[in-house]
Symmetry: C2
């Protein structure tokens, strides 16, 4: 397969390269593109130095899988032009996620939707991607009634700028750029919020995208998204109410059998998912699985994943894998 | 009033001294006690240096208000002996909180309970203290049906040792002591947990103590308590389901009128409660007040308070204020 990465110099773009390599994705040719400002460097891939070219009408390739992580504005401008030239765009921005003609896909949950694409497939929001495999497994067996989720998210979700702001502040320095005017260090802050009484952009994304991926338009969700001073990954505290009776011990075993999910749940021995512990992993980590006795049928649990991998790069590459020709079995 | 502080050299003990001074508590004599290991220093109070004496059978004062913050073991050992000598103990540990003969008090919520004491009054858990004034105001008007809460707590809740572990790790040093074997820096961790499927100590405290303070033995609560790398205060994300219809705008005005509560809720302008923003304040900060459309009647909101002050020292001093003789009005 010919592969293009748009936004190759960014935090997610670089992670996409690592994940392609680690997963032995069959890369025939690799095109790296970035904004004219970021282009001109080279990035190593599979033992070679690959030049990063400036994204322009002239550098649009043909017939590649194009992994986009260059922000919403770039996606809106360039993704349709890429699609026109026979590329399949897998876009990490929020630009196309709610477009009914663009599939929004978490492999393993709604893989079949990917085949309906017309040249663009959207990669969901990071905090959504790590949650839906767990919700999907629970829904199939017990029926979801209501989900209450509060997140503990890394500023790396906003890219290198978020990491830089946090690290500058922790070092006692004035950040050169900011993702929020409030301090990130030693603090807990929200994503962009339109007004009083509104959900944040991130909270609305989690709600809308989860419903769309799971084909549950009326799923009842209460979402609060918070950024905390962590780097390795996003964590989520969930209270899940189900239609059918649910047992925490049975669920623990069931979730351990879900592809891409690992259960870590021996908290007396300090074994449970943490942002640091999930860093660098392609698995969704689940723990603190407990009965919720405040509802008739319900569980509490804790989900953690590396937001740059599981929540962005790895999910994009897993979508790309859905597009690979199915190997024919020799007779 | 004669005042004693037991555990005067600790993080909460020192904060108690500051709060006594700031609130102009009528201190006639001040006795500072600490473990023999920590005694021997002097601590400034109201312009004087006060010696810290070793806590022993010989140094137990008589007829003082004794603010204890020396841990559960010391409280269990010494509080009854203090009470026997005519002291009223206000104890910050968890040792007496669930003892039916010991009132558990948050002034403004269940002040009257303080008068039932037999020599010991328990100061609730920090994360409980900041939550109940808000729950109480909502319950009185709308009736509480269910509360789901996830916390974002400062390691300072475990005392100076928690602060030291976090700061050593952030500085790239090996901590000299730890409150958890897991890293606190760039991480999210839980309090002590007995076993698989159990709530942590902190989670059980929030449940039991909230029910006891509010005299709502059957209050339905789902609690998840998490430590994050913040210092200024504890934050809490709440989903509150009520019996009666509740309107976020009306509630915003009602909470702003609650004594000891301040509403900060203009998130488009980055005005909302944060751990850094609540640090040093004696107020409970509430914001992100939103309708929860995942239930028939409900709201989501965000509560932040300085855990060493609101959640410990200030609540203890406010309990002490309940014990002051009521001033007589001249004819």
């Amino acid at each position: 397969m010919n592969v293009t990465i748009v936004g190759a110099t960014g935090l997610v773009g670089r992670t996409m390269l690592r994940v392609l390599h680690e997963r032995n994705f069959p890369v025939t040719t690799l095109t790296l593109l970035a904004s004219p400002r970021s282009a001109g460097t080279t990035i190593p891939f599979a033992g070679q130095q690959v030049a990063v070219l400036p994204l322009s009408a002239e550098t649009i390739p043909t017939n590649t899988i194009a992994l986009f992580s260059a922000g919403g504005a770039a996606s809106r401008q360039w993704a349709p032009q890429f699609a026109e030239r026979g590329n399949v765009v897998i876009d990490n921005s929020s630009a196309w996620r709610m477009d009914p003609t663009v599939p929004l896909v978490v492999p393993g949950v709604n893989s079949a939707d990917a085949q309906l694409h017309r040249g663009i497939i959207a990669n969901p929001n990071c905090s959504t991607i790590q949650m839906v495999p767990v919700l999907d497994a629970i829904h199939k067996r017990y029926g979801l009634k209501r989900v209450v989720v509060s997140t503990y998210q890394s500023p790396s979700g906003a890219g290198q700028q978020g990491v830089d702001q946090l690290q500058a502040e922790l070092a006692g320095q004035e950040p050169t750029s900011r993702i929020t005017p409030l301090p990130l260090a030693y603090n807990a802050v929200f994503h962009t919020i339109e007004g009083v009484g509104h959900g944040s952009e991130e909270e609305l994304k989690m709600q809308r995208e989860t419903r769309r991926i799971m084909h549950l338009d009326d799923l009842r969700m209460a979402v609060t998204c918070v950024r905390v001073p962590v780097l390795g990954g996003h964590a989520e505290s969930l209270a899940i109410e189900t239609v059918a009776p649910i047992d925490a011990d049975v669920l623990r075993a069931e979730l351990a059998a879900v592809q891409g999910v690992v259960v870590q749940d021996d908290p007396a021995r300090h074994l449970y998912p943490t942002p640091q512990g999930s860093s660098g992993s392609d698995l969704v980590h689940v723990g603190r699985i407990r009965r919720d006795d405040s509802v008739e049928h319900g569980v509490l649990l804790w989900i953690v994943a590396d937001n740059l991998r599981v929540g962005a790069a790895t999910n994009a590459v897993r979508i790309a894998e859905l597009l690979l020709p199915v190997p024919t079995t020799p007779a």
